[in-house]
Symmetry: C2
């Protein structure tokens, strides 16, 4: 018979070790102290799919309930798909959105072909099977950041046929058309 899961809320790895020694025969002791990094799993894969799966698996291992994880990249045509899987860390490991956008605008200075797309991959792990769901949003890169909603590259991304950046959309408007919204709708369709 499968052991019931019990979550042990601690940041103390040595307490966790003791609790496992004492209760390990009766329970599967879950703890997020097991995660490689406290808040984010390091994205060591070379694809969005790989990173999303890595995270969904790691978080499932840690909490024991069905998990989704998201990896999102901005793919710029004139930059051969960069920053892509490195979007969040384009200007450095600290993942500063302002610095990332500044670097992108700098790399694209003088370029007239500004086509780009956001791509989100959602990995869903239910403890047995890993499933993937994808969503895209096509558009172009503006010449300066505009708007304060959303996050990441939203202020420099203009969805196709729009003269507002994604950061000038309301949350509701963004979610209705966005890469992440589309990937999640695929996921919901899969479950029903």
């Amino acid at each position: 018979m499968e052991k019931p899961s019990l979550f042990f809320g601690t940041g103390n790895a040595k307490k966790l070790k003791e609790i496992r020694e004492i209760l390990g025969d009766r329970f599967t002791i879950k703890s997020f102290t097991d995660l490689p990094s406290p808040l984010e799993v390091e994205e060591t894969e070379s694809t969005l799919e790989g990173n999303a799966a890595l995270k969904a698996q790691a978080f499932f291992d840690c909490v024991g309930i069905p998990c989704i994880s998201d990896d999102t990249g901005l793919e710029v045509e004139a930059l051969d798909g960069a920053p892509g899987v490195f979007s969040a860390r384009y200007a450095g490991p600290e993942g500063d959105a302002q610095a990332n956008m500044a670097k992108l605008l700098h790399e694209m200075a003088g370029l007239s072909i500004r086509k780009a797309k956001f791509r989100t991959v959602i990995a869903y792990y239910d403890g047995k099977k890993m499933s993937f769901f994808e969503g895209e949003l096509k558009g172009s890169i503006g010449h300066e950041p505009r708007g304060t909603n959303g996050f990441g590259y939203d202020p420099v991304f203009l969805p196709e046929g729009e003269n507002r950046t994604l950061a000038e959309f309301t949350a509701e408007e963004k979610n209705a058309i966005s890469h992440r919204g589309r990937a999640l709708n695929q996921f919901v369709g899969f479950l029903s």
Copy 2:
């Protein structure tokens, strides 16, 4: 009908907000990004019971499976029960075990009454009810740290009738008699 829980593995609070906006009608989206602190809930209560309950509730809210949490204090008779609920932070907020032991030995320099006890309170929260389980280990405080097993104050604590410190016990020996082991046995008894 209760919504199914789904864990979203991310350290990005803004992604989490979007996912909740999109999936919130269908799922209770759990995430440990909701915790007040990434790895440990701040212990703001004045009792072991209070802190253990605080943590069990916060971690349950975040993962949605039954949770236990532990708060442990070392109570020294000649110091009126200090360090007690402040044991882990006796010498400062960084919780350095060497510094804590050094401070304790300094405070007790010249004292001949060295009686002390470890007390662990386990809080168990199943989503409806909070239950508490307690374990004690009586002993005394030595004059210098000895041993490398265990953690915290183990190297300066001699269980009653022993001339070894708790850090000179094997893990198995410690767990069989310890405050934490006893509290967990109470918990197991409660469940069966």
